[in-house]
């Protein structure tokens, strides 16, 4: 094969790839519930006055946060199968703050190998205890004003994280192997853009209600809607 045909082949490849970009599809939708979810419980922070006085309205449990129109917040929606060609984790770190003895955000999603930056904005010491099973379990204290703790995870896992000093502090590290993931906001809506055409399995994970999956095929430039409905339990 001579050099000219080789260069032509390369040119063709490049054009093909660039052409694909604008034509990438999007999956979007809304996560809602049916039935009656547990009433959010008021958290009694009296043992930690410095935190208690940071809440004008008392903080409440976040294991099932609902919004208008039965929307569910803090649901992790991600491509669990079908996604291709993404291994490198983004260089940007995901931040996870401890403020008013609450985790901000309650659920943080990040990619395998991506850096997690944990900060303490409180006047009290916290200990961040990642109760991992697939990954290495760790438990580190963070005194007020201490430097951020940075960690990485090398396996896909939904890791419960807690602070033993303030037992009500409970959150999750959603460590995903895909780069296509999103955590629903207060409206329960989500959007997974830049998906090359193809067949995908979309999964939605909620800490109390479990995981749901749906199959979907999208063509180039197409935007499809996938909604998830969880069965809420009063207790």
């Amino acid at each position: 094969m001579n050099r000219i045909s080789l260069t032509m082949l390369v040119v063709l490849l490049i054009t093909a790839i660039t052409a694909a970009a604008p034509g990438s599809g999007t999956i979007e939708g809304k996560v809602t519930y049916t039935g009656t979810p547990a009433k959010p419980k008021v958290i009694d922070m009296s043992k930690e006055p410095s935190c208690a006085k940071m809440h004008s309205t008392p903080a409440t449990t976040a294991n099932a946060v609902t919004g208008p129109g039965n929307s569910l917040e803090y649901v992790v929606v991600y491509i669990s199968a079908g996604a291709t060609g993404e291994t490198t984790a983004p260089a940007s770190a995901v931040t996870f703050d401890q403020k008013g003895c609450e985790y901000l955000p309650h659920v943080v999603a990040l990619q395998v190998g991506q850096e997690l930056k944990i900060t303490n904005s409180d006047q009290t010491s916290h200990n961040v205890h990642a109760i991992a099973k697939a990954n290495r379990e760790w438990n580190k204290s963070q005194t007020p004003g201490a430097a951020p703790i940075t960690e990485k995870f090398d396996k896909e896992e939904f890791i419960p994280v807690k602070c033993n000093v303030h037992p009500w502090m409970h959150g999750y590290f959603a460590v995903l192997s895909t780069s296509h993931f999103v955590v629903t906001g207060s409206d329960g809506g989500y959007k997974l853009p830049n998906l090359p055409p193809g067949k995908y399995t979309v999964s939605a994970w909620q800490e109390s209600y479990g995981t749901q999956t749906q199959e979907i095929t999208i063509a180039a430039g197409e935007t499809k809607t996938v909604n998830f409905v969880f069965q809420a339990k009063p207790y």
């Binding site: 009290t124 010491s125 205890h129 109760i131 379990e137 204290s141 005194t143 201490a146 430097a147 033993n164």
Partner: protein, 593 residues
């Protein structure tokens, strides 16, 4: 018979020639004694450094100690001590001080060096066992020190290591993984070594005494070590299985101490039916005698050193003080429950344990009266050893008083686990023992090295230490009355915040006292090489160690066979020309014991 074959059965080895045999794996009780003292000094320095870190943190919670950040990036990120690292420091401070300093130095250190000489033997009964005791202890210390370099860091469950905290592994918190395992191994080593050592001490005292060294002529130091060894044999024999069961719970999944239905770190623990109180009973059955394993050699040393410097025998001779020590040792075996008044043990047994605990004060107070009233009409010579002995008397009175409070369940229910307890046991088993160690160290240094320690530096060391000890530990009693809970890495409770200045004051005094100990280290090193040459009997004492060269030759008495004619406290005897009579002097006098 030719000498070669003779050696087969001569238990008392020949002078070694290789360096290793001389200084490292030596069978010579004097070298082993020095090794123990050296280990004790190193351990004491480590333990003291740990307490400095704790004191700095308590006084100035957000102060940064750069050195610590190098030692543990998780435990002290940026040099600021995290709550769990404070507990690690506390745990290792207690473990190292209680075992590797206060038990090792006065008993195994001075005991190894001087017990055989004082009974006129040429070595311990079992030199090889003696050597292994030291090296097993050394291994134990290495294991304890190793906890600082492993990733988890040292355990955080205190030197008492109560299960389930100490038994369920990493779920209980940082340091409860390999840190706690190494800790357990370290304690096991120390225990085995102490048992072997106790056998050696007892057998040597009973069977290796020289001609004329009847029990009534033993120096009080020997009595102290002998009684301690007997007590240790019983106490450590219980600690060993206690620790074994704990390790099995940790590593083999058994449920001796861990009950069912425990949830740690959101994990339901796979155990059933164990009893945490069982551990507490086993532990304190050892743990309370341990306090006396530490203080009885101190009693012995003071009983031995004081008469030399007041130039009088103690009132009641050897009998009364020895009887007190025996009584204390015996009672210490039946009072362990007073550590558990609020532990959920039956309130009836609390009352049962309270009474013998109170009765321990009687022999203790008799001993104090004997010492104090022996000063009456004396001619006290104020050299450093005597100052430390007198300091011991004052400190032990102050410490013993706290016992009256803690021995009563009703009062203990208020003072338990407060700084009152911390102040109390630091006065009694801590500082009293330390002062006795210093008394012994300044007293015997000339014999061990052939040189005298510098008196001026010694007195500086004494005054800073003596006043300092009160400055540190008396305020802790006061904090106890204010309900200041111990083992807190930071003061966040509303009623504790006003007490921070007091903590800061204690910290400052502690740092000054710590600096004063450096004076001692310097004096020790300097005198070792440059100190004034010592005569064989610089203090004009009577016992056998002063009847040989300084330092003593390999077989202690250069082949002489001593015969003992008198008791150890023949000072200012009527009708004798000098103001003291050596135990070996045939000069006939009315034997007064």
């Amino acid at each position: 018979m030719d000498q070669a074959s003779t050696q087969k059965v001569v238990p008392h080895h020949e002078p070694p020639h290789s360096f290793i045999r001389k200084y490292i794996f030596s069978l010579d009780h004097k070298v082993i004694g020095k090794q123990y003292l050296g280990l004790g000094l190193v351990a004491a320095f480590v333990g003291m450094a740990l307490s400095w870190a704790m004191r700095i943190h308590l006084g100035w919670p957000d102060a940064s100690i750069p050195l610590l950040s190098k030692l543990s990036s998780n435990g002290a990120p940026g040099g600021v001590i995290t709550p769990e690292y404070y507990l690690s420091l506390m745990t290792m401070h207690g473990t190292i001080m209680a075992f590797f300093v206060l038990t090792a130095a006065p008993l195994s250190g001075f005991g190894n060096y001087f017990l055989p000489i004082q009974v006129g033997a040429e070595d311990m009964a079992f030199p090889r066992m003696n050597m292994s005791s030291f090296w097993i202890t050394f291994l134990g210390f290495i294991l304890a020190a190793a906890t600082f370099v492993i990733p988890d860091g040292p355990p955080i469950s205190g030197w008492t290591a109560y299960p389930p905290l100490s038994a369920v592994g990493p779920d209980a918190g940082p340091g409860q993984g390999w840190g706690q395992n190494l800790w357990g191994l370290s304690i096991a080593c120390f225990t085995i070594a102490s048992l072997l050592g106790a056998l050696n001490f007892l057998a040597t005292t009973l069977d290796m005494r020289t001609k004329g060294m009847t029990l009534s002529r033993l120096p009080l130091s020997v009595w102290g070590w002998f009684i301690t060894a007997a007590l240790g044999l019983l106490a450590f024999a219980v600690l060993l299985p206690c620790a074994l069961l704990l390790m099995l719970d940790r590593l083999a999944g058994t449920s001796f101490y861990i009950p069912g239905g425990l949830v740690l770190s959101d994990k339901l623990q796979p155990h059933t039916g164990g009893s945490p109180l069982l551990f507490q009973h086993l532990f304190w059955f050892f743990g309370h005698p341990e306090v006396y394993l530490i203080i009885l050699p101190a009693f012995g040393i003071i009983g031995h050193v004081l008469p030399t410097f007041i130039r009088k025998p103690l009132i009641g001779g050897w009998r009364v003080l020895t009887a007190c020590m025996v009584l204390i040792a015996f009672l210490s075996l039946v009072v362990w429950g007073h550590h558990m008044f609020v532990s959920g043990m039956s309130p009836y047994s609390a009352m049962l344990f309270s009474v013998p605990t109170m009765f321990i004060t009687i022999p203790s107070i008799i001993a104090m009266l004997i010492w104090i009233f022996s000063l009456y009409g004396a001619d006290i010579r104020f050299s450093t050893p005597s100052l430390f002995s007198l300091g011991f008397l004052s400190l032990f009175v102050s410490g013993g008083i706290g016992g009256f409070f803690l021995a009563q369940p009703s009062i203990d229910s208020y003072l338990h686990a407060t700084y009152f307890v911390v102040g109390h046991f630091h006065f009694t088993m801590g500082m009293s023992a330390v002062f006795a160690i210093f008394a012994g160290f300044y007293y015997w240094f000339p014999k061990m090295t052939g040189r005298l320690m510098n008196e001026t530096l010694g007195k500086v060391h004494f005054w800073f230490s003596f006043i300092g000890m009160y400055g540190i530990f008396m305020p802790m009693h006061f904090l106890g009355f204010a309900g200041h809970v111990r083992r807190y890495s930071a003061l966040v409770d509303d009623y504790l915040i006003p007490l921070i200045p007091t903590q800061r004051f204690i910290s400052i005094v502690a740092l000054i006292v710590g600096a004063a100990q450096l004076v001692f280290f310097f004096n020790f090193i300097w005198s070792y090489y440059k100190g004034k040459k010592a005569a064989d009997n610089p203090w004009e004492a009577t016992t056998l160690e002063w009847d040989t060269a300084s330092p003593p030759p390999f077989d202690n008495f250069g082949g002489r066979h001593l015969t003992v004619y008198h008791g150890p406290m023949e000072y200012n005897v009527e009708g004798s020309k000098g103001d003291y009579v050596m135990q070996t002097s045939p000069e006939p006098i009315g034997e007064k014991t």
